[in-house]
Symmetry: C2
Subunit: 337 residues, 2 copies
DNA sequence: CTGTTAGCGCATTCAA
DNA sequence: TTGAATGCGCTAACAG
């Protein structure tokens, strides 16, 4: 099975033309006689000719490829973001290369090497929960390759970012719980390494404060997003002298797990304990009871990030740094609270 | 923001060596003095040097990239398959490029062009529901670029395929329903263009036959997998003179939609109507009632397909054609039936 | 309108 | 062990 590549030379020979003419015909250059172009195009089609992007990219120093690095693909969040990003990218003529870091710093670094080696024109990044050093990403800056962060952003770097208003989202969720009469609201928070954890926690605190509910340290548990452990935290919360009557979770997978645990313990959601999640995952509308959650405009996040990146690739502005797009969240009230 | 690429020449100059020596040092060629190698490696690191895979691939005629074309990313099925495939691929040193056809033939063709232009070493394909012409894929065969189909395969082409035993899966599901006392079992089937529709339908028929239940044409509805329309089919089935007491669905998203519709009509699942799905989507364990379904080893499908593809890329066997890996399904009994 | 020339960054002959 | 030369497939000047 030898791989024989059809090249411009083959077409040129067959048509007794020069390579450059064939090249021009193929790229739609106007300075080619219509007959010649037709002949070239026809033969190319018949010979299964496909432009070799490797060669073209090598010359033009542009691959028309953008890289996307996401932490995982297990919830519907990141797949949907990539769908949005691909939508915009492919419309603009860009191919997308997706890598998962699996929430591992090492893998994320490896991913960036791949992106660099493959000469992507720019990258979209959402950090792994382990990432605290950003040297591997700063290389892109030094090389002048545009980066756009989304969701899990890096505050250390002056590049465009697409986020949602995590503070406000959390604030709305917790305020809603309070207005529904909940008094002791626990918060299963994310790892301190992620800014989103902090922002959502702050929103939680602000909502309590506004409603004059004292902040109780023992009701807030930061965890590493490994849902296998959720049952421990929930058990702990429930065994408190004054157990919570509501739990606000950092994410939907977390909230879903919480509901399962509560149900297994014979308690009722929301009667005994209300639960609110974050992100409006696909699954959240399906579970029983269905999950009240803070919806994020996932596809829009992807679209916005991709558009920002492509703008940056095409134009050559110097003031990209300051751009931070903050998209709005929306509280979706369902059964769980 | 000019992009300045660090090249071998830069390193060579700085170290006063020849390009070839630097190149050899970088690629771990044994015929390089240890000192020289160290010096090169160190400087390369310091200069953020990254090999330009475009140039390398152009010479070696190998990109170490495999393409994956999937119909969609909306259920958890294809994301999980790609996770399995990426796992194997990256272990073998391959990068993965994923494209979605969005169930569109046109897009699928466009995707293959991208793969070809980017000189992928091989592709993994699951067909769109619209695809009936396979010329765009036969080009790969002609060019000697390995293809492996999975899930939605093409019977016209003699290439390796990874599938599950759809017939047996459907057979098990329907047999189970019958053994549970169901008499009138409807089947919401997939489009005739997909072989999996046919196989699952045959499994359904075989199970009926084995249990001496006459096949009733009016209980089988083929549909195009657009779940927006499911409520119409369910409504139709329920309004039949003799409505079904169970529905076997071609897929989990279908089954989930069916359950929602049934619940909305005030009927109970499984008391009034039992529902069984296919694939064991992430969501199926979470809905209420939880879905009884035929589980597919999704990640294994991805792993197997990727491994088959890589084997084919590396070795040069002629008898790949015959390989069809049939993985086993498993009936997961939950609440819905 | 078309042909000629010169590389893009690198691996790989062949010499030394 | 190292260096010089060749070319992967193609585009982009530069000429005619």
């Amino acid at each position: 099975m030898k791989r024989h590549q059809v090249t411009i030379v083959d077409i040129a020979k067959a048509l007794n033309l020069s390579k450059s003419t064939v090249s021009r015909a193929l790229t739609g250059h106007p300075s080619v006689k219509e007959d010649t172009r037709q002949a070239v195009l026809e033969l190319a089609e018949k010979m299964d000719y496909q432009r070799n992007m490797l060669a073209i990219s090598l010359i033009t120093r542009k691959t028309n490829t953008i890289g996307i690095i996401v932490p995982e693909f297990t919830s519907s969040y990141f797949p949907n973001v990539t769908i949005g990003a691909q939508e915009v990218a492919s419309k603009a003529g860009y191919t997308t290369v997706i890598c998962q870091s699996n929430e591992s710093y090492e893998t994320e670094v490896a991913n960036t090497k791949v992106m660099l080696a493959n000469q992507v024109d720019g990258i979209l990044v959402s950090l792994s929960k382990e990432t605290r050093n950003f040297d591997h990403l700063k290389i892109f800056q030094r090389k002048g390759i545009p980066i756009v962060f989304f969701n899990r952003v890096c505050d250390d770097m002056d590049v465009p970012k697409v986020i949602v208003d995590d503070f406000e989202g959390a604030f709305k969720a917790v305020s809603y719980l309070i207005e529904k009469g909940r008094k002791r609201i626990a918060h299963l928070s994310g790892p301190a390494s992620l800014r989103i954890s902090e922002k959502r926690l702050n929103g939680y605190k602000a909502a309590l404060k506004k409603h004059n509910i004292p902040y109780d340290d023992s009701l807030v548990i930061p965890y590493d997003l490994n849902t296998d452990m959720v049952h421990i935290y929930v058990t702990h919360l429930l065994s408190l002298p004054q157990p919570p009557d509501a739990i606000f979770a950092i994410s939907d997978p977390t909230a879903i797990e919480i509901i399962q645990v509560i149900k297994k313990k014979g308690l009722r959601v929301p009667e005994d304990i209300a639960v609110v999640g974050f992100s409006n995952d696909f699954a959240s509308g399906l579970i029983h009871p269905s999950l009240t959650t803070v919806a994020q405009p996932v596809k829009d996040i992807g679209r916005t990030a991709a558009q920002l990146l492509i703008d940056q690739i095409n134009r050559d502005l110097a003031d990209w740094k300051s751009i931070i797009r903050v998209l709005k969240t929306e509280l979706i009230v369902r059964e769980s609270a």
